[in-house]
Symmetry: C2
Subunit: 478 residues, 2 copies
């Protein structure tokens, strides 16, 4: 592992790419735009999956699995859907040595195939609601791929539900947005998010409405952390998802879909990382604590390692890594685990053995400020570590929230908006005209991230000056 | 759910297909040869995954993720590999609206892409062993698809390791075969297996040697439950996986690969199922216990349901389903959960409330023999259920083992072999000549399943009569 990150100030983009590779989170693959997720990165993703899955199950959703391939004709049934996705499709034209009669699309999302199965499984109002989630890989032909953030193939969960009314579908969409996604982002990933509605221009191809969670990265750009779509009856009509209601009359169902992806690993890196490398929230860290033993000679080594092994056995409450490699110096190990973002480091040397103490260092607070001596007695050490990890988890969220708030601006006019975009997010009245949205994008490269859930009020559009009742967030985005 | 299975005797194949669909394990999809795994089937697969993953981790293997697509040229680097897999490939020729310069293969297995990454990550003997596993979907263009057993797309884990010697690689291959796969099959899935080596003809395309676990299904056909390959230096040479040894000389690495797939769900169905439906081993059952309340009127309903709810709360040690639907009769529910293979059923009616007892019925022992009255007192009921589930788990393994033993024959000559193949497995001397293997297949449709791990002895080939030192298992197979 080399250790030469540019600072974020110098080159944020290179800082990110180098960090992903150097911290062994992911690697470039020989397939254009596809990445390899390495064990350390995958361990973070597995923790993201588990935390999300727990919440998805609590929302009464069952897990299932649908085919990777979708017949092209299925894709074409919902007009907006196919229009939105066609430029991004990967297409299988040959199978088993022969040209296929009908090409198969590698799923970019599964509304089409799941809609068809739903039409088979749903007959009566008694079959509703139907709530299914799958964890899967999907493929979208990205023009400018970035590790984790935008790759041709990515990993995600996609939930698909069917209901007997608009209201129930909308409730589901919001349940997922707030109780699953926002709760996960803030309580587990320590990433504050702004939930809101997408503009018509930015909504999912085929949806009635798309809701999003927008997170601010360390360079103030926005990242869409998850989306939840109310599909209305569009997909039900396209795929014949009909049920007989309690009057025995046929009705089209109301469906939803929602997803969160492996780009969340990228979000964790960019929200919390610093110039030394990753900073992982304790709830997502593969190792919450690393023990680094310090010795000068073999005698010391034996005594120190024995104590470290003992501690390792006593700290079963935590995910602990003991770095007992003897070919690397303590300083090298400090750097490596710092770059890999381990929340807490325990240093144990011969002097500590004498004093019965251990140095406890926080990753999120580099330098002396984050260091303390703690007794090795487990009745002191264990509660101290529990408190410290809790404290790190909540202080990381707080810090990210402060950063987001202090980089969100309310410009008084369009000129100020243009000045502020390079510095952060802009929160301003918008008249809901697509032309104004497009102008902002042309002038500043900022897109309309969302219309936050806020009470309507009266003002004037920041772009055209016409009356407006809603505020939007504009930002540069990944 | 309809409830009309043919008996296994009448039509084993239809029994299997109907059961998979009726018990809502999986469904046919509109994509030829691809299936949909429904929540009940997926819950079984999730339990298989977790049990395997635990064992894989204990073998010191890390989880990672590699691209779905493999450039065609990579695939062609190992000659036997491409020859073996080309008839089964699905090929992406178009992406992002354009024809690709080089077609991409949808992975049928990942040696090629992982080999390339290994060559990047491995430089020195210090980087070895490298042990990686991924859970993924793969695609092989099957001509005769069957739900779970043989589908175009299936789910699996594929492990890939690199070592500095043949011996270490072989140790890894056997560690996985015995400590991961056989242990899982027998201790979790209650499926007895015969571990052995594949013949040259049946080995993995590109491997030095393939080891397998063969399981006997309820119709006496064999099913390959998992395979573990010693790839020798073949893939290392094709993909330049080289390391400098401790004399600083470049060496080719020794690699292995090994996989177990979603067809294991099919194996569980076919090994344990009976004419009433599924019989699930308690360790894999999504619900270990189902509580079916019985009532005649509303007053009874209230009292019985209250007691059931109370019990549900007390049985937190187990995975329990309370079937409190009031639109179905108890008899209907008995049938449904029987067909879905729930290991233990608790029946609670008004009389049970009076007596303070509950009827406990075992799925694996239909009829009166498997029924008992047990006190509702938790200090009696809980240990009884623990013991009962343990007893069911081990008795299912025992029963399957007896079936396998009693349907494995040692014919005295080739004529007897031909008679015996329709009745079960044949265990007989084989001279290791491919011609004899091919003759058995032509005459009986039986393939050489494996050469079991046995001491060599002296005998004569069951086909040609020439001297032989090894015995093989021949059987019809899925």
């Amino acid at each position: 592992m080399s250790n030469s990150l540019p600072t974020r100030e110098e080159d944020y983009s290179k800082w990110y790419n180098d960090l992903v590779v150097q911290a062994e989170l992911a690697d470039y693959s020989p397939v254009r735009g596809c990445m390899v997720i390495r064990p350390y990165g995958y361990a973070i993703w597995n923790r993201i999956k588990n935390a999300l899955n727990e919440r998805i199950e609590q929302s009464g959703v069952d897990e299932a699995y649908f085919p990777l391939f979708i017949p092209m004709s299925f894709f074409e049934r919902e007009a907006e859907h196919v229009e939105g996705f066609s430029p991004e499709l990967a297409v299988v034209t040959h199978g088993g040595g022969k040209e296929l009669e009908e090409p198969l699309v590698v799923r970019p999302t599964s509304e089409a195939i799941i809609g068809d199965m739903f039409s088979k499984w749903i007959q009566s109002y008694r079959d509703l609601p139907l709530k299914i989630n799958q964890w899967a890989n999907v493929v979208r032909w990205e023009k400018r791929p970035r590790l984790f953030l935008r790759t041709l193939e990515f990993l995600w969960q996609e939930g698909h539900t069917a209901h007997s009314s608009y209201e129930e579908a909308q409730e589901m969409v919001e349940e997922i947005l707030f109780n699953v996604y926002q709760d996960f982002c803030e309580q587990v990933a320590a990433i504050p998010v702004i939930p809101g509605k997408k503009s018509e221009n930015e909504k999912f191809a085929g949806a009635l409405a798309t809701y999003t969670l927008e997170a601010m990265m360390g360079n103030t750009w926005a990242l869409q952390a998850g989306t939840s779509h109310n599909l209305g009856q569009n997909f039900a009509k396209a795929f014949n998802i009909q049920y007989s209601d309690d009057n025995n009359e046929l009705q089209d169902a109301w469906t939803t879909s929602w997803g969160m992806t492996s780009r969340m690993v990228g979000a964790v890196i960019m929200v919390h990382g610093d110039d030394h490398g990753l900073v992982l929230p304790p709830k997502l860290a593969p190792h919450q604590i690393v023990i680094v033993p310090i010795w000068r000679d073999e005698e010391q080594q034996e005594a120190v390692l024995a104590k470290c092994q003992e501690l390792l056995g006593e700290l079963g409450d935590f995910r602990v890594k003991l770095d007992d490699r003897d070919s690397y110096s303590p300083g090298f190990k400090f750097n490596e685990w710092e770059q890999k973002g381990v929340p807490v480091r325990l240093e144990i040397g011969p002097k500590d053995l004498e004093k019965g103490t251990v140095v406890v260092a926080r990753r999120d607070m580099p330098g002396k400020q984050g260091k303390q001596f703690v007794s090795m007695e487990t009745e002191t050490l264990i509660p101290t570590l529990h408190n410290l990890l809790d404290e790190i988890q909540s202080s990381m969220l707080e810090k990210a929230r402060e950063f987001q708030l202090s980089h969100t601006y309310e410009p008084k006019d369009y000129a100020e908006l243009q000045d502020m975009i390079p510095e952060g997010w802009v929160h301003a009245y918008w008249c809901e005209d697509e032309a104004c949205e497009a102008k902002v994008k042309e002038d500043t490269k900022a897109t309309l991230r969302c219309l936050p859930f806020e009470e309507e009020s009266e003002g004037t559009c920041i772009v055209c000056g016409k009356p407006a009742t809603k505020k939007a967030v504009f930002a540069r985005a990944y």
